[in-house]
Symmetry: C2
Subunit: 534 residues, 2 copies
Amino acid sequence: MTLLVTTFLDRARDHAPDREIVDYVDGTCVRRSTYREYDARVRRLAGALRELGVRPGDRVATLAGNHHRHLELYLAVPLAGAVLHTVNLRLEPDEIAYVVGHADDELLFLDVALRPAAAPARAARPGMRVVVLDGDPEPGEMRYEDLVAGGDPVHDPPPRGEDDLAALCYTTGTTGAPKGVGYTHRALCLHTMAAGLADGHAISRRDRVVHLVAMFHANAWGVPFAALMVGADQILPGPSPRVADVATIIERERATYLGMVPTLAVDLVAHARRTGADLRSLRALVLGGSTPSRELIRAIEEDLGVSAFQGWGMTETSPMATFSRPEPDAAPAKRYAQIQTQGRLLPGLQWRLVDEDGATVPHDGVARGELLLRGPWVATGYYRGERPEAFVDGWLRTGDVATIDPEGRLRVVDRTKDLIKSGGEWISSLALEAALLEAPGVADVAVVAVPHERWQERPVAVVVPDAGGVDPDAVLAALEGRVPRWWRPDRVEVVDALPRTSVGKVDKRRLRDTVGGTHNAAEADASRVPATPS
Amino acid sequence: MTLLVTTFLDRARDHAPDREIVDYVDGTCVRRSTYREYDARVRRLAGALRELGVRPGDRVATLAGNHHRHLELYLAVPLAGAVLHTVNLRLEPDEIAYVVGHADDELLFLDVALRPAAAPARAARPGMRVVVLDGDPEPGEMRYEDLVAGGDPVHDPPPRGEDDLAALCYTTGTTGAPKGVGYTHRALCLHTMAAGLADGHAISRRDRVVHLVAMFHANAWGVPFAALMVGADQILPGPSPRVADVATIIERERATYLGMVPTLAVDLVAHARRTGADLRSLRALVLGGSTPSRELIRAIEEDLGVSAFQGWGMTETSPMATFSRPEPDAAPAKRYAQIQTQGRLLPGLQWRLVDEDGATVPHDGVARGELLLRGPWVATGYYRGERPEAFVDGWLRTGDVATIDPEGRLRVVDRTKDLIKSGGEWISSLALEAALLEAPGVADVAVVAVPHERWQERPVAVVVPDAGGVDPDAVLAALEGRVPRWWRPDRVEVVDALPRTSVGKVDKRRLRDTVGGTHNAAEADASRVPATPS
């Protein structure tokens, strides 16, 4: 039988008709619905897409937040045989125009608040029709609810093969233009099975998942598909929920599963400490996007009474690739250390570590190499064949430098491009950042390489102080004995916030441009390194 | 990437090299090994198979108990590109000859104790080479350990497609000759993913599984493949373990997962009650093969302190198809009732209930229909195309009559051929058996139809008394108000044991032949219905 994501819709309707889809806005519940209703709306919407002339294989874009209509498009677009292109709403408007043009999107579904972001894309593609998801359409636009109301329900979707694309995301790589990653029906189905594995995220019918991860970001980690397949409840927090809203949602909805970036988790822990919010309905708080600190893991487990895990992956891996589940009998310190690794490779995938010559590096927990990945839900090429050098013999070159210990636990120690080559030796910016995070007064930190005449490259640390302020000399002194002496940054710059990419990662390219070579700590100020709202 | 079961071997070696394979014989541990050693032995064995001339697609038979060598063949045969045909060692010797001939097996791996059972098959196929798994080879036979010692390790298996067969089992249908069910690499891979789902058997790296289910029986429910994929420990209890041996294994090995038929579970509960055996290391005792009684479920959960589940499926479904996981917050009585259903359909599969005309029957928990199944690990035909009428439009006709409630829980109420048509109305022999099991003095029961001049068919009950003995009149009286009056069996026959098929199911065909029409309760005695050792 063909593996098709559209079968998840049948399954939700037939096996979990009364399970819930719940929408929140600003911490207030604004809608409760069921998979029975979801199914009916999705089928009518798919019918409307067909009537609009969307043909199998066409790309349909979304520029939208986390709400039920976006979730409806997740299935309606594939049900019409088309490809769901979820556009990153944090891209610059001209980048949005680029990806929409590159994908050759036929139709755009748009939150009205995002009209300005979409303007250049629309100007460049006058033939692209636009549907507004909320609010009133302007001339030439269509209203989403009119499509849902008027569509002829699709019960026999156009035949699709499992190697046909169902979805498309663009990576927000820090090198060059965004690159498209196409997800086949087969990749998404197998990824969804993996999402339900007891050894992985273990998403099950007992769950009530909260989609805090943006729905444009690698299909919100694929959790919406997993929830549909297993019949879990789904809770959508609406646009830009504050941490207090997230806590409210967890408490009111008795949520069980939440994925988020460590930065937000720090805020959530602080909020819960301050307010006494009870988050213990969560069976899993899964951290992803960057490595969480040991202290954050401890705080989630001990202060919140919630099990912490780490999920790791990338847009090119659908995205779930590893999961850091600790041994059940590990003592707390060991447990936190295990969670802090990127964890074990999900069944179904294969990995290799290779050195610069492509030779295999041992899995001894010490040797470092670039991580290569392969498997049914790992990309083997970018959309329209771009950047073929990122793939070799069917393997994805992740660009991550990692170790794998004999127990099979992955530690990502750097991005290949974030390694600092100083005097012929490599300095790990991630390891240096981890050591700097332990220094007094440091709330956040990034290390970048600056060119150096003698040593080729030297590290510079950019730190965000905590409430008590930071002393750069004390920061450097705190590194004594923790990292090799020659790793010690040449400078410590103090800023109010680190620049971030559209998906919340520290934008080292911008940092490098800013600190590059000419500044010193005294000159640095926050205005040079503006924060991007994330 | 192609889905191949042979990747499970790579995964066990690379991700769980130190996890264990443990052999027991008669409750005594006789061998401990690791996946590292397993991998090396399997690769050498596969090399030996190649050197013996086994070509991709060839069938290789096993007639063997549950031990590490059988587990090695599970992977070595596919690694040689061939098809593992696990022969049911409880078949009659002439039936074994039939299936070995039908499969056209090139090679037979044999426990020496089973030489007599294999004799007719060998006589009929003088060209089939034979390897003895234990003991000394007779002239013309080879020794297993010689192959393992001498084989050239296979690291590059012959290319196989995911639709190529990796394994083959014959059903022991009660109608006609055994029929072959071929398992493709793809089917086994997807079935294995399903075995790891948190909503299913949830087999994970944390598990230490015991293979009490025969390894010839639908690949021991597919659990060996699942354990390899996730890196769980595997414990093999050897030939014909007694219930005391099983309890010893669980206690000594801190086993976590055990699948078994309800009949054995009854004995295990009784044994634990008698001896105080502590079986609480089990996270799951999964019952399969027939519907467990409410009392058995209660006893497992309350007396043993172990979570009970029910798995349901058939050889044609690889075999896992449904799993009865109760709602987490259900009160005990409701919990036991939920476990007693056959449970929910595993993600990836589809089902329908149809009436005699093939029309869909509602999932209202009341309407009955024949269960049809479809999915990536459901057979779409028998080996060599036999009995095509068991399949319709890609759906497997299970031959089971069932209801599905609005919550998606399956209840198998009968086999189509076990329904009793009396006066134009259907009597469910399974429902009648369930009611009879609650009657005083009844330890076990089977209901069969006997021809009747006026009513066409009428039910006859065959009961096994408990230690206190049984009074047929009291049994009939106990049915009052529990089943429709016209369901009341015409006779109650008392026997020492029920005849069983080679896989432990009540052999209704033999029962019908025995009780058919001419006997009455006074005539019945145990000698008429001899028990088959199972």
